[in-house]
């Protein structure tokens, strides 16, 4: 084998939440998402690194599994990669079995199964720093001798924490040919289970393993957080504070960005001769993409809370608390993590449903995932709430924050209701219980938080500077041409292609209170929800017949829309599947057009009916 030409293939394997992805990031320099709960990785990920002498190494990060007898799709990926069953992925030449040193028995059981496949293997005892602090005893040298593979301590989240592992990966020791047993069947059979357990006990005894000391504080905190009543009150309080903060803390930085956008628009208009280029820059670029940029502080604050909760280990506790409620509406307990992920974006949430073994349960979760309020809705909600809801205090609370909380709750409640209805149409009454390992509590890592927020900022800015900007330029063109006739009396946009389309669509949307500007904005808003905010910015800037309105969308909406129209649009956005990528992923995950079409149909119908009722009641 020419190691200089063909990169060596290595795979990271381990039980969920043992730190595989953190180790993958440490080894490859990637920034894959890590969190303190199981099920973050649902498909194989690949990264590369170069050894000190320039050889390439290709590293696969595989989904976590407790056994090589898979029960879910993501676990099957891990088994198939190890057995070399995937056409495009040969079996790895080295398996790095990652074991959480704090909970050694669980990980070591899988390591024994992997070792029986006969593939060269290294055992990484991860989180050794935490294990030492909690009094865990492991004699790595004896474990290595008993297991017959190198055993190295690692701390994946610390710089230099994988040096011992890298040293072994870069040596050729493990490349020495050994008698490889061809795997048979589907990994470990049921008959082997008892033998496996005996081997595990023997290994733990030989390695002098002593379990971690229980932290009395953790037990007390858990007793409170997992209490059926107090736990729910705390969960609601946490979410409440989060949404209050999104509005209260973001106010000042949003004002700065808005002011900067206004100044930029005025400066551009004042220093450029009137013409199509000035109109494109002022109304299309600054008035369109600029009006979305204003919501960056709210996105940062929302993700600060989400990342901190993820890192602390609180979220699986929330899953435990809500399990009974979810079970009562026919959702699998395993649906919690996918639905939680959907609050950032429905796409990873839909992909995370691979951890649900029952197809009916999985389909139900996929169908309601878009109802969870994703971060792309935040600019729309932020704009409309700030324009239509007064920033009044109700007791200690901010009314705008309360409305945002209500909108997020409406998404969750409607998702549960849809699941309840689907349960009654489903023939399957089987309930898949939630089996979740509660991770240890930990203080959120500041570096992880900063890195996570930076990633979100980059994603948001690349969207504003990429697809949103491009769509705003196209919309500006459609809203500006053809030019109005010489005897035109109204704003130029009314004579343009977009204006005519808006007038046409208004017949459909008038019953729910949408004017022609909103109707136009909904069309590019199909690509992604926040595009609608930019589209409204462009359409209103051009509707103002020459006045500079860039960056002043909020007061314009406040003065020209009724409360009924604003609330109707808010309700529309709770339900409407205004995201083509989500529908594309549903098609891919279900391998059929049927389900994305059903999803689009029922969500648009719900959106229209709910917006209609809201508008008629509030008018």
């Amino acid at each position: 084998m020419d190691a200089a030409v063909t990169p060596l293939r290595m795979a990271l394997v381990g039980v969920p939440n043992c730190g595989k992805t953190a180790l993958f990031n440490r080894l490859t320099g990637s920034r894959q998402k890590v969190a303190n709960y199981p099920g973050v990785t649902v498909e194989r990920r690949e990264g590369e690194r170069a050894t000190a002498d320039g050889r390439g190494q290709r590293i696969l990060d595989l989904p976590g599994t407790y056994s090589l007898n898979p029960t879910t799709l993501d676990e099957a990926i891990t088994r198939d990669v190890l057995l070399g069953r995937l056409a495009d992925t040969p079996a790895p030449e080295l398996v790095i079995c990652v074991v959480d040193a704090v909970h050694l028995p669980i990980g070591l059981r899988l390591a024994l199964e992997v070792k029986r496949l006969g593939l060269p293997m290294v055992l990484a005892l991860n989180r050794m720093d935490v294990a030492r602090r909690r009094g865990v005893q492991i004699d790595a040298a004896r474990l290595s001798a008993e297991l017959g593979v190198p055993v190295v301590p690692t701390v994946a989240v610390k710089r230099g924490g994988a040096d011992a592992l890298i040293e072994i990966m870069e040596s050729d020791r493990w490349l020495v040919p050994r008698s490889v047993t061809a795997p048979a069947g589907n990994g470990v059979s049921a008959q082997d289970a008892e033998q496996l357990q005996r081997d595990l006990q023997g290994l733990l005894g030989a390695a002098g393993y002593s379990p971690p000391r229980d932290n009395p504080w953790f037990a007390r905190i858990d007793a409170l957080l997992l209490h059926p009543f107090a736990g729910l009150v705390i969960l609601l309080a946490v979410l409440f504070v989060m949404f209050q903060a999104v509005f209260s803390w973001a106010e000042a930085p949003m004002d700065w960005i808005e002011g900067a956008m206004n100044s930029l628009g005025e400066f551009t208009a004042a220093h450029m001769p009137a013409g199509p280029l000035a109109s494109l820059l002022v109304n299309g670029v600054i008035g369109g993409a600029g009006s979305v940029l204003v919501f960056l502080p709210q996105i940062i604050i929302l993700f600060f809370f989400i990342l901190a909760l993820e890192d602390s280990g609180y979220l699986p506790r929330a899953a435990y608390l809500l399990d009974r409620l979810m079970g009562s509406v026919g959702l699998s307990g395993r649906a919690f993590i996918p639905l939680l992920s959907s609050h950032a974006c429905a796409i990873p949430g839909i992909m995370a449903t691979r951890t649900i073994p029952n197809w009916r349960d999985r389909l139900t979760t996929i169908m309601i995932a878009p109802l969870m309020t994703c971060s792309a809705r935040l600019p729309v909600y932020g704009l409309l709430i700030a324009a239509l809801i007064p920033a009044r205090a109700i007791g200690p609370f901010n009314l705008q924050g309360l409305v945002l909380f209500a909108l997020y709750s409406a998404g969750i409640v409607s998702g549960l209701l849809v699941a309840f209805v689907m349960k009654h149409f489903s023939k399957s009454r089987q309930y898949s219980p939630l089996m979740l390992e509660l991770p240890d509590f930990q203080w959120p890592n500041a570096a992880n938080l900063v890195l996570g927020l930076w990633e979100r900022v980059k994603i948001f800015l690349s969207r504003v500077g990429g697809i949103i900007l491009a769509l705003m330029i196209v919309l500006w063109f459609l809203s500006s041409y053809p030019a109005p006739p010489p005897d035109a009396t109204g704003p130029a946009i009314q004579y343009s292609l977009a204006g005519k389309l808006g007038a046409l669509l208004q017949h459909v949307f008038a019953p729910i209170g949408f004017n022609w500007q909103i109707s136009i904005a909904l069309v590019p808003g199909l690509a992604a929800r926040e595009v609608a905010v930019g589209a409204l910015g462009t359409v209103y800037a051009l509707s103002a017949a020459g006045d500079d309105v860039s960056g002043q969308l909020q007061p314009l909406i406040a003065s020209s829309w009724s409360l009924a129209t604003g609330c109707s649009l808010l309700v529309w956005y709770i339900f409407a599947p205004q995201c083509l990528s989500t529908l594309a992923v549903v098609k891919r995950e279900t391998n059929s057009w049927r389900y994305p079409l059903i999803m689009a149909g029922y969500l648009f119908a719900l959106a229209y009916i709910a917006a209609f009722v809201t508008y008629r009641v509030m008018r």
Binding site: T28, G29, S30, R31, Q32, K33, E43, R45, E46, G47, E48, R49, A50, G56, G275, P276, L277, L280, C345, I347, P348, M351, A376, E455, K458, I459, S462, R463, G466, I467, L469, A470, L471, I473, V474, W476, F477, A527, A528, L580, S581, A584, V585, R588, E589
Partner: protein, 81 residues
């Protein structure tokens, strides 16, 4: 006249970019593979093909999050460490 031409070019570029980003992943991969086959016959494009086109094809062949416009963080570093 030059101003109108410049605006037309910007709008055309924005239209192509939007169409590319919103295109189904499979169609995008087909187009990239066709471009790869075309550029393979031109030795002068070998360097660009190796450095730019091949990694893009590898990413376009990905699934799930790769298809989402939100995804900006899932690409491996360009220089292996």
């Amino acid at each position: 006249m030059i101003e109108e031409l410049l605006v037309a070019l910007i709008v055309l570029a924005a239209f192509c970019f939007s169409a590319w980003k919103l295109m189904p992943a499979r169609r995008r991969l087909q187009l990239l593979l066709a471009l790869d086959a075309w550029s393979a016959r031109r030795p002068s494009l070998a360097r660009w093909r190796e450095r730019s086109l091949k990694p893009r094809i590898a990413r376009a062949g990905g699934v799930g999050c790769d298809g989402c416009a939100s995804n900006g963080a899932h690409h491996p570093p360009s220089r292996p460490r």
